[in-house]
Subunit: 214 residues, 2 copies
């Protein structure tokens, strides 16, 4: 059976996956790019841009697990666009004509719209469905490949709370955001169902892997 995986999900020490005040100019609110500096530095992040370079150390090893084996991404309405994107019929995501997904990408929203085919293999589908229903529908489309839960925090938390995530990689960044959307709420005793292994890299990032117990 295909695995459900979370990768490169970045939070602050106090557990926020995004800051307060998400808007067109500030996709992560007051967090800015601080949650993702560890990722922006890696070669993985610059794939396709040979001149840009990037590190090949431990941060890159974690980052590069993002794509292999993945046949689809599921993301929340809050990741797809700024608050109110549903009122803009022309909104096609943050990522330009060739988004970095290159697979069918399912956007959970209470206001679904027709699918949008982008360049490079990404097609956005819009779904109003529970996490379990969503996985069933995605598996009908993609078959046996793995499914990535791409965030934001609300969607990752919902899939975790229903016990639907097989593997999760969280990157903890040493900043205190104070406000935003929390990842850990409602997930008491997650350690009962996952083996949790933390490791800190030289960028000061603590990578946590969650592997489901059998």
């Amino acid at each position: 059976m295909s695995q459900v995986r979370v990768h490169n999900f970045s939070i602050s020490l106090d557990g926020f996956g995004t800051g307060e005040g998400q808007a067109l100019e500030t996709p992560f609110g007051h967090a800015g790019e601080r949650l993702h500096e560890w990722l922006i530095g890696t070669q993985f992040f610059h794939a396709g841009d040979q001149l840009a370079g990037g590190t090949l150390g431990a941060d890159n090893a974690f980052a590069a697990q993002h794509n292999p084996g993945i046949g689809a991404e599921i993301m929340g309405a809050g990741k797809f666009g700024p608050p109110g994107w549903q009122d803009d019929p022309d909104w096609k995501g943050w990522w330009g004509p060739n988004p970095p997904y290159h697979t069918p990408t399912f956007v959970l929203t209470h206001r679904p719209r027709p699918s949008i085919e982008m360049e490079g293999g990404t097609t956005f589908h819009f779904l109003d469905a529970t996490p379990t229903e969503t996985l069933a529908q995605v598996r009908e489309v993609i078959g046996d490949a793995d499914i990535r839960i791409g965030g934001g925090a609300t969607v990752v938390r919902d899939f975790l709370a229903e016990g639907l995530v097989d593997y999760m990689h969280v990157a903890v960044v040493p900043i205190v955001l104070g406000r935003g959307v929390r990842l850990w709420d409602g997930l008491e005793s997650l350690e009962d169902t996952y083996n949790i292994e933390p490791v800190t890299t030289s960028s000061g990032t603590t990578h946590l892997t969650f592997t489901k117990k059998r």
Copy 2:
């Protein structure tokens, strides 16, 4: 000038320094001993009990910084006893006749009582004062030695919020408690005033050191 230090302060991934339901039988509420297993395993924790042994690795290196240079501890009413201890005139703390402090120990409480001299150099003093006033009073008693803020989360947070802590060691344990008292609340942008360095040890504990920027 004497330094104000926090040591061995243990929190869950979601930032709780104690669980819900603190009581005489459950000093850490539903957290039990899980926040402190890393510490209980160290030789530092078994000091004085030669037979007990204990590890001498990285966890012990962090743990053993607890006492050297310290002339006093400041703790909250919630660390000194279970809810309601103020109504028991015979309550002398959790630690028996010879508490592990061996210095003057100042308990912040809105219901102060006369000082209690214990064995082994610990004397409990009870204070109703702001963090700044408290430090001034403690320095009058102990002079130039360093002062440890012993917890719980409420008291550590209050001293941090007023910018009074010079050094802090926090141990993050890979469990999700879900409820209790949070350390990080109200401490947005702590990284602006501290250099924060995380390192993970083989016990799965991530030790964070906070060193005040100059």
